[in-house]
């Protein structure tokens, strides 16, 4: 089996370590051997969004150097994968050698559902869950990477899980990185709207694919609707594996 190099976003490392752990659990349960380059830090997305693009050049180059010899790189974050695949080549477009290295790396970087379904041909991870779930379409995953069916295919094979359609599933949850701190009232209004749509489904769990969405919606639910949960796709799958949860 191929060795998978884990690309763990800084937000996952710092705040959502359990999502990282679940990524490991899920991929291990499927028989993949895993590598983790502990020297990785962050892909640089926050600085790109804020317009401090010059600072990202060195961060990007460092990232490329860390990962470019790996066969396959997998991450539980669509927005971070987008940064590497789509932003890096653009940011390094004036340095032909680095531009090429960025493009080559980009070909090997996958968001986890994309990897499982499209590359590994796995749709059934042998999980089961009795209850209703709803699926939120994280923006970067959906629009920047065009990943829509893959997470839903994985969820459809979870035995016993009833996927209830979510109104405006594709509408942004309002995280937007620094946006949530700079424009808190607007961010709040968006996550409130997302939650209202979620409440209408009658589901207990909202599945999201991006750490940002998880922090935002998860935090909002915990404060306002503590009996409802937001779960990252990998956590939902890893925590409900039929063989039980291994380390």
């Amino acid at each position: 089996m191929q060795r998978i190099s884990l690309f763990i976003p800084c937000a996952v490392d710092a705040l959502l370590g359990d999502v990282g752990a679940d990524t490991v659990r899920l991929l291990s349960s499927l028989g993949f051997e895993l590598i983790y380059h502990a020297e990785q830090t962050c892909c640089g997305q926050p600085a790109i969004s804020a317009g401090h693009v010059d600072l990202v050049r060195d961060i990007a180059k460092r990232f490329i150097e860390i990962f470019e010899d790996d066969e396959i790189i997998v991450s539980p974050s669509g927005s971070c994968v987008n940064t590497v695949k789509n932003d890096y080549p653009r940011l390094l477009s004036d340095e032909p050698e680095w531009h090429l290295r960025a493009l080559n790396l980009g070909e090997k970087v996958y968001e986890i559902s994309q990897f499982l379904v499209d590359q590994a041909g796995i749709e059934d991870v042998h999980a089961s869950f009795t209850g209703k779930i709803a699926y939120h379409k994280s923006c970067h995953l959906l629009r920047a990477l065009g990943i829509d069916l893959q997470p839903q295919k994985l969820l459809s094979h979870v035995k016993g899980a009833e996927i209830v359609p979510l109104n405006a599933a594709e509408q942004c949850c309002g995280f937007g990185g620094q946006f949530a701190i700079k424009y808190p009232q607007v961010s709040h209004a968006l996550v409130r709207q997302k939650t209202q749509n979620f409440l209408q489904t009658g589901a207990e769990v909202l599945i999201v694919s991006d750490p940002g969405c998880l922090l935002n919606i998860g935090g909002y639910l915990h404060r306002n609707h503590p009996h409802l949960k937001a779960r990252h796709l990998v956590s939902f799958l890893a925590q409900n594996l039929e063989g039980g949860v291994s380390i």
């Binding site: 959502l16 990282g20 317009g51």
Partner: protein, 494 residues
């Protein structure tokens, strides 16, 4: 109207508390989303149609000077007078002279964003005392209320029927009624009197056709047909990017416009105007003027990347796909271009300093980009505006970002380049946050992060991933050692 995007925060705070409005607008977004996708889905090959509209607008923008000259040549041959205005002031002045020349006292209008951009109505009313009537019902309402249009196609979409009725009672003496038909009928009768008396009609232009020297105007209500058929003079104002190569291009853009805007294959009326009235006509303008307006666009044009902002056909679909716009409404954008359409053009026309919040208050979700019929790359553009602002791009009035901000990001970047520094910072942040945490969730964020905690908790896991992985490695190493050990002696080690 006078642009005031600097008031974004203040106005946003006023608008954000209108929860019902946001809820309503979200429904409006859903309805428009449904209607427009259904309409586009009716096309024989929707994907091809989009490729075509992207190509048509790219061609038009890339060949702009040539197309404008061709349009002018043919329009003049048709008997139109073509005038060029470098900026809003010149455009107003040209129109003022035309009003005086033709002794126009009553003017009726077709809905025109350009006329709002140059603040025409106020100017003419104040300078010349003419009476100007917006013919479009929604536009008429907001004209009476003195507010900016809420949406390009539904200027009064945020008003309930009581507000609309009261506005008409207050301004044109309608008897109060909440019956939509009766309201529309009253305005119909009222406007007919104005159409009958009008000396001049002022409209915008949806598409200018270079090969035939024609302008095309689309509408559902009929006020544009009135304004171009009843008065003796017609003044059409177009921003310079509105030109397309030929009639087929124009008709395709027209189809993408109406399908993307209101979900209609064709609007109720389309007027293809190629000159003043023909011999034997009693209706139609005797004198027809087209004013080509620059007002900052030739400057945008200098930059091959930013130039894409000129591809916009003003369909407004981006707005109904934007969660920010649906939530805060049009007013915070502070101009006649709300929503993502405004985020694309206002920073380039008004400057990056004044419009800072317009392009910063965006999650870069890409909803707008995903529905744009001309292929404008909003996400890349907005990233670009933010980078231009940080760098202090003088072309578009950007003051370099503050020392504090730059220093902050520089130290952040340093931490990202050093694993040791990164881990240390993560540790510090986690300690900082743990101060207010309960059961895996931080419910009171300190300092600048307070804003987060006003509305939500923050999940925080017990361990960082680095810690988890390190432990996993240690366990697996000791498991391997234990396995190796038990192979040898079978002795129990506790």
């Amino acid at each position: 109207m006078k642009a005031h995007p600097q008031d974004y925060i203040k106005i946003m705070r006023e608008e954000i508390i209108k929860e019902e409005q946001a809820s309503f607008m979200n429904q409006v977004g859903a309805v428009f989303g449904y209607l427009t996708s259904a309409s586009l889905g009716q096309m024989a090959d929707q994907a091809l149609a989009r490729e075509q509209s992207v190509a048509i607008r790219e061609n038009a923008v890339e060949n702009l000077p040539e197309l404008l000259e061709t349009f002018e040549k043919n329009a003049v041959k048709n008997g139109m007078e073509v005038l060029w205005a470098a900026d809003a002031e010149e455009a107003r002045s040209i129109i003022k002279d035309l009003v005086k020349k033709h002794e126009a006292k009553v003017i009726t209008k077709g809905k025109s964003m350009i006329s709002e951009e140059i603040d025409l109505n106020h100017y003419l009313e104040e300078e010349l005392g003419v009476k100007i009537y917006e013919g479009d019902l929604g536009e008429l309402i907001v004209q009476m209320r003195g507010t900016p249009p809420f949406h390009i196609v539904g200027p009064a979409i945020n008003l309930n029927i009581q507000q609309i009725a009261q506005t008409l009672v207050d301004h044109i003496g309608m008897e109060y009624t909440e019956d939509a038909k009766a309201i529309a009928n009253y305005v119909r009768t009222f406007m007919r009197r104005q159409f009958e008396q009008a000396d001049m009609g002022i409209t915008g232009v949806n598409m200018a056709v270079a090969s035939t020297g024609s302008i095309i105007l689309v509408e559902n209500e009929g006020n544009i047909r009135w304004s171009t058929a009843a008065p003796k003079v017609h003044v059409a104002i177009m921003s310079l990017e509105k030109v397309v190569a030929d009639m087929a291009d124009a008709f395709h853009i027209m189809e993408m416009l109406s399908r993307s805007c209101t979900g209609q294959g064709m609007t109720s009326y389309v007027s293809v105007l190629s000159g003043p009235r023909a011999a034997g006509e009693y209706d139609g303008a005797e004198k027809m003027y087209v004013i080509i307006l620059d007002n900052g666009r030739s400057k945008i044009y200098q930059d091959p990347f930013l130039r894409q902002a000129l591809k916009c056909i003003r369909c407004g679909r981006c707005g109904t796909a934007c969660p920010i716009y649906l939530t805060v409404g049009a007013y915070p954008y502070g101009w006649c271009y709300p929503g993502p359409m405004g985020t694309v053009i206002s920073p380039l026309l008004l400057g990056l300093d004044d419009t800072y919040n317009v392009y910063e208050a965006c999650t870069l979700c890409g909803g707008c980009e995903s529905v744009c019929p001309t292929g404008i790359r909003h996400v890349e553009l907005f990233h670009h505006y933010r980078a231009m602002k940080v760098a202090g791009d003088k072309r578009f009035k950007a003051t370099r970002s503050s020392f504090m901000e730059r220093a902050g990001f520089k130290s952040w970047a340093a931490a990202m380049r050093s694993p040791a520094l990164f881990e240390k910072s993560v540790g510090l942040i986690r300690n900082y946050l743990h101060v207010g945490s309960k059961e895996g969730q931080v419910n009171k964020m300190p300092g600048t992060l307070k804003a987060w905690s006003a509305y939500r908790d923050l999940p925080i896991a017990e361990k960082t991933f680095h810690q988890y992985w390190a432990e996993r490695e240690k366990t697996s190493v000791s498991e391997k050692e234990a396995a190796a050990g038990s192979d040898k002696g079978g002795q129990d080690h506790e």
